[in-house]
Symmetry: C2
């Protein structure tokens, strides 16, 4: 974990935390805890990296481009597996009525995401080293996506014999206690005995609305302070920020992380590797980027080169704030008026990203349950691919453990106004592999 | 298949078919078909043999005694597997709150009944020898136990790539056709293409109410006449009759089937084997049994020794007619008045069986969903064990294939009036193996 890097990009003193209250709160809590001394060096990530196909013109080959990288509450893994099972059952059962020669068994890849996610949690549990300790799922009250989480819980119990406790931050405010000396986290209540927690898996805490009062932050920090392995820790959550995604594209940053001989004892990535990785990214920059590099304190008031560039290229851009959960992005023609009213100090929280241009003319029927004869809609669609993986890392004396484990496809109606992936009609889908 | 034996015991000329209209109908249909020439020598059985613990007194060891042997529509295999999974999940999840040292993982035996039943169907399908042919499930209209059947259907498709078609006898009256020369059975309709049927699995046709008119019998016989392998064929269905169960207990009958050197080329069962098998049976006799052995045509009007014995021992007996589905038995004190009014010619359809005496003092809570606070009932219970197996047999040129595949437990409230297994409150349950 590169603490100075995260401080610079996401921190409250120099980074996004200056202007984003939520990021600032998390960063301040983390800062205090690490100043006291961190009880657990390991971080667990259950990650999902999302991609769209990019086909801007017939002159260039279609390529996969990264939309974002999720370090917290990467969802829909188990439901994606159920969807793949459904599509494979329909193939076996109906042969899709011979509607396409591609719809044959060998083109349906396996989806074992649930077992993979469970293995990540189990490996962290083993690293914690207390067999009877449990895994805590921190969940939102009234969670609607509960079945996605329950499949994972059952798999953890069935395959690894590890028990899961589900609690909200509000419940944990009453039930969670930290041993002052050992930093062992225990959960107790009138109905439970008291259980030691080995791993904390966050399916809540990624959005400001999970923290209506300071009490929820206090609970989050109590969990962070514990010896339990966090999935993710606060710094790993911050590392998933949009601003980090953008900064990684700046010259030299990728080299700093992946090609520093001194850091990796010769086991570095080659120039070709880095070029290939960069080729999966769209162009990005910060609205606070400025060629002028003035140290004039009045500079904030002036328009940065980052903002100017965003105005000029607005028709092929999306602006993304430091917010999870979607629905906050600003697209194309909405960008100039938005920039007119964006307070200069908030520029730091926003990145500009070239829009991915999905292939044209991909149609499908989107079916919604319970909508009667109007439940089926023929639509131009765009499919987003998610690749799941896990990593356990952070202790210099222990080798990093990591694995790529599965996939997710979400197919959405393509809103021609916005050109990209609009909110709204979206369904879980499956991969069909086709030789090209 | 011992045709003369079945004719003698179940046929219309000498056996149960004389007095039981349903058995007579099935037997007549079978007789006509075999006189024409049987198109398919193989029979498939998916069997379930049911047992109760017998503990009549403290002086004799508790033993397992056979209740009955099912040759048609042996149900609850897949649901039994789900129940075992549920109980094992509850063990893993709660440890049953340490309520008993027996409730540990190694005491929960595996239940893979669904895969075993599917394998039986698949082996028959392979023996039929047409890879694209389908399996026909003959089902009742408005079947409530459909999920038990669907799990099996999905397993057959998933594990063996074999498609299942579900139809009622009434649907088959329109959709089923038989090729006159080849006796190939095909199912067609406006929504299906036409499919050849390799195996017919009956989950209907075991009770007279499945045959409200002669049309359903005609359809049943069309299926029987086909080259498809029947599970069960009519003779195999008849072999499951209560009367057959009783006749097997008569001196010499077991020896005829299992210890005839000429028949089995030396591969026979030993006397000890036969004694062990007999030890799993209760005493049984036919109400038409008569020591007097008169050939006097007026004998029917007199009370046979079988009836006299039933009167004398009524308090420890159950009378069972040739009927599937339960609810037709006559117990203990109800026996003498019942015998007073039983027309003498119907004696042939009834057997007397000594009541199995289940162990005393086994209590449990029986929970019924949706019954509010009155849904839980503490009751003395009795548990019935079912053992599933399949066999493919009947072609002298092909070795018999067979396998024991799984189990079922049903636990019922013990009605002290009747002493045995009364109808009513009954739940799916699981085995817990305990060293004694």
């Amino acid at each position: 974990m590169d603490v100075p890097f995260l401080d610079r990009v996401m921190g409250q003193e120099e980074g996004v935390g200056k202007v984003d209250e939520f990021v600032g709160q998390l960063w301040r809590g983390w800062k205090q805890i690490r100043d006291e001394g961190t009880a657990q060096p390991l971080h667990l990530g259950l990650f999902r990296s999302d991609y769209l196909l990019h086909a801007p013109s017939k002159d260039v080959p279609t390529s996969l481009r990264q939309v974002e990288f999720n370090t917290i509450s990467s969802s829909f893994g188990p439901l994606s597996e159920r969807t793949a099972t459904l599509h494979n059952y329909l193939r076996a059962s109906t042969g899709y009525y011979d509607s396409s020669p591609y719809l044959k068994a060998e083109n349906f890849p396996e989806n074992r995401t649930t077992a993979g996610l469970a293995e990540g949690l189990a490996v962290a549990h083993a690293a914690y080293g207390v067999p009877d300790a449990r895994i805590l799922f921190v969940v939102q009250a009234g969670e609607r996506n509960v079945f996605d989480q329950r499949w994972l819980e059952y798999q953890v119990l069935e395959s690894h014999g590890i028990h899961v406790i589900r609690q909200t931050l509000d419940e944990l405010a009453k039930s969670a206690t930290l041993d002052i000396k050992s930093n062992v986290l225990r959960i107790s209540s009138t109905t439970f005995k008291s259980y030691e927690i080995a791993v904390i898996y966050f399916r809540a805490g990624y959005t400001p609305s999970d923290f209506p009062t300071s009490a929820q932050y206090e609970t989050r920090f109590l969990l962070e302070r514990s010896r339990a392995i966090k999935c993710p820790s606060i710094p790993l959550q911050l590392a998933g920020g949009k601003k980090v995604q953008e900064v990684l594209t700046k010259p030299g940053v990728l080299e700093h992380f992946l090609a520093d001989e001194g850091r990796w004892e010769g086991q570095t990535f080659s120039k070709d590797d880095l070029a290939e990785l960069r080729a999966s990214w769209m162009g990005m920059w910060g609205l606070d980027d400025d060629d002028a590099e003035t140290s004039d304190s009045g500079a904030e008031a002036k328009e940065t080169s980052g903002v100017r560039k965003a105005r000029e290229q607005a028709s092929s851009l999306v602006l993304k704030p430091q917010r999870e959960g979607g629905g906050n992005n600003v697209y194309k023609s909405s960008i100039p008026p938005f920039l007119d009213h964006l307070p200069p100090r908030e520029r730091q929280a926003w990145i500009a990203m070239e829009l991915i241009v999905p292939p044209e003319g991909l149609g499908n029927y989107l079916i919604r349950a319970g909508s009667g004869s109007e439940g089926g809609v023929k639509a131009d669609v765009v499919s987003e691919l998610g690749i799941f993986g896990w990593a356990l890392f952070g202790d210099p004396s222990v080798e990093v453990k990591e694995k790529e484990i599965g996939w997710l496809v979400r197919t959405k109606g393509k809103d021609s106004d916005e050109g990209g992936v609009a909110a709204g009609f979206s369904v879980l889908d499956s991969i069909l592999l086709v030789d090209d």
